[in-house]
């Protein structure tokens, strides 16, 4: 095992040499890139990476360019996770046969995918990776929509959000189904580590990613990724949206160890009303019409109930 990179504070972190490059084609202010940087810079070890089809993949591998300074593979929408699992299985086989040329290098196997590729289309592939116990990390860039194809709803899209396939209009307030709870579903596979992270809380992110690298077995990470284009906010406000998402508890930060032990890792000093989070985004604009205001109240009740549930789970230590 190589030693864990020491990152005491942001100044020390800033000495990292990025292995993800600029002049990619992600939108100005895209949070996908901020998340990728924080994940990759959490280690100095070699990287074996994949990206499933989606904004991250499409924008960082436009021939003749790659934005990745590491082994990187893309196959399809659904199978970025299994591509990395295959590489990990091959690596283990070569190690067991004593055929690794540099056995001490300890590479990290990471698969990146959007919510569409994880919650819907790559769901059974990821489940397979988790169940088979591969030593890998799957990171969801959760912007709650199929962003790369123009904003269709996914099973991560939250209630009341307007998307191109569930638009708000005269007869509908948009999405009617609540978001799927992927962190719990993945934890239910009994994997050693499952967690939710956000790019504004970089220290919490690095701690969780490093913990993920230290355990033996599959790791699932859900990262909130505010999308300037589909959530409809100004690109300069990406970090403000990320702050609002964690401080309104719409995206609570927590971890689940060995499939059951839940720890809340961030408790905002001043909890922001959910209404402020919704008001900052064009996709929820219609909820502020009189006829839909009851939905904002319901949003707050849902978020409060989930927070109470997480707290009870944490207390119960089960």
């Amino acid at each position: 095992m190589s030693e864990m990179k020491k990152i005491k504070n942001l100044k020390e972190f800033s000495t990292s040499a990025d292995r993800f490059e600029g002049a990619n084609l992600l939108c100005p202010g895209c949070a996908h890139s901020i998340i990728v940087r924080e994940v990759l810079n959490a280690t100095n070890d070699d990287l074996v990476l994949s990206a499933s089809t989606g904004c991250l993949e499409v924008c960082t591998a436009v021939y003749p360019y790659t934005s990745w300074d590491a082994s990187w593979i893309h196959i399809g929408f659904e199978n970025g996770s299994t591509a990395v699992a295959g590489a990990e299985a091959m690596y283990n086989a070569l190690r067991n046969k004593g055929r690794l040329k540099q056995p001490d290098r300890n590479p990290k196997f990471i698969s990146f995918a959007g919510d569409g590729a994880s919650y819907d289309i790559g769901f059974q592939w990821i489940s397979g990776c988790m169940e088979r116990g591969h030593n890998m990390m799957h990171v969801v860039l959760d912007n709650e929509v199929y962003a790369n194809t123009g904003g269709q709803r996914s099973s991560s899209t939250p209630i009341g959000s307007s998307s191109t396939t569930a638009p708000a209009g005269r007869v509908s307030y948009g999405e009617k189904k609540n978001k799927k709870d992927m962190v719990s579903i993945m934890a239910s596979h009994g994997i050693p580590y499952s967690a939710q992270v956000a790019p504004n809380k970089w220290k919490d992110m690095v701690k969780k990613i490093q913990h993920g690298f230290s355990v033996d077995g599959p790791v699932f990470i859900n990262a909130v990724s505010p999308c300037t284009t589909e959530w409809k906010f100004d690109p300069k406000d990406t970090m403000m949206l990320s702050d609002l998402s964690t401080d309104s508890l719409v995206f609570p930060l927590y971890e689940i160890i060995d499939g059951h032990e839940l720890n809340i890792t961030y408790r905002p000093k001043n909890v922001v009303p959910v209404e402020e989070y919704l008001a900052a985004q064009g996709r929820f604009k219609h909820l502020f019409k009189d006829q839909y205001k009851y939905l904002i109240k319901e949003w707050q009740e849902r978020v409060d109930a989930k927070w109470a549930y997480l707290n009870r789970r944490e207390e119960a230590r089960v």
Binding site: D18, G22, N200
Partner: protein
């Protein structure tokens, strides 16, 4: 490889980010890397910008908020100091300005054609109203 069109591209070909051998990428700074013509690092998105950030180091406390939250690897930090903006890769999103905590801010957005020296010479003073 970069100059080949799709028709000459061999199935299973690999694009290499670097020319030659590189053993310790995470320990090698951008300026010391032999990027190949296939790395997007050698390309530029400067023409995407309508506004650009200008950095005034007088008030900078090297907190590195701009470094961690820049989505485009365009804040250049060396030896724990913020030393400038990489204008080939900056897309002008303005996040660095939003997250800069100093008073006055050490980064501000200006129209792309603004003159850096002129703007630095008339940088806003500390806002006494703000705490």
């Amino acid at each position: 490889m970069a100059n080949k069109g799709w028709n000459e591209f061999e199935i299973g070909a690999m694009l290499r980010t670097f020319d030659g051998k590189i053993d310790d990428i995470a320990g090698t700074r951008q300026e010391d890397r032999a990027y190949s013509e296939n790395s997007s690092f050698v390309a530029s998105v400067a023409d995407w910008r309508i506004e650009k950030p200008i950095f005034s180091k007088d008030f900078c406390i090297d907190c590195q908020f701009c470094w961690i939250y820049c989505p485009d690897m365009s804040i250049i930090a060396r030896d724990k100091k913020m030393i400038g903006v990489d204008m080939d890769h900056c897309k002008g999103c303005g996040i660095c300005v939003e997250v800069c905590p100093t008073n006055p801010k050490s980064l501000l957005m200006f129209p792309e054609q603004a003159d850096e020296e002129t703007e630095l010479a008339q940088w806003p003073a500390k806002d006494e109203e703000k705490k």
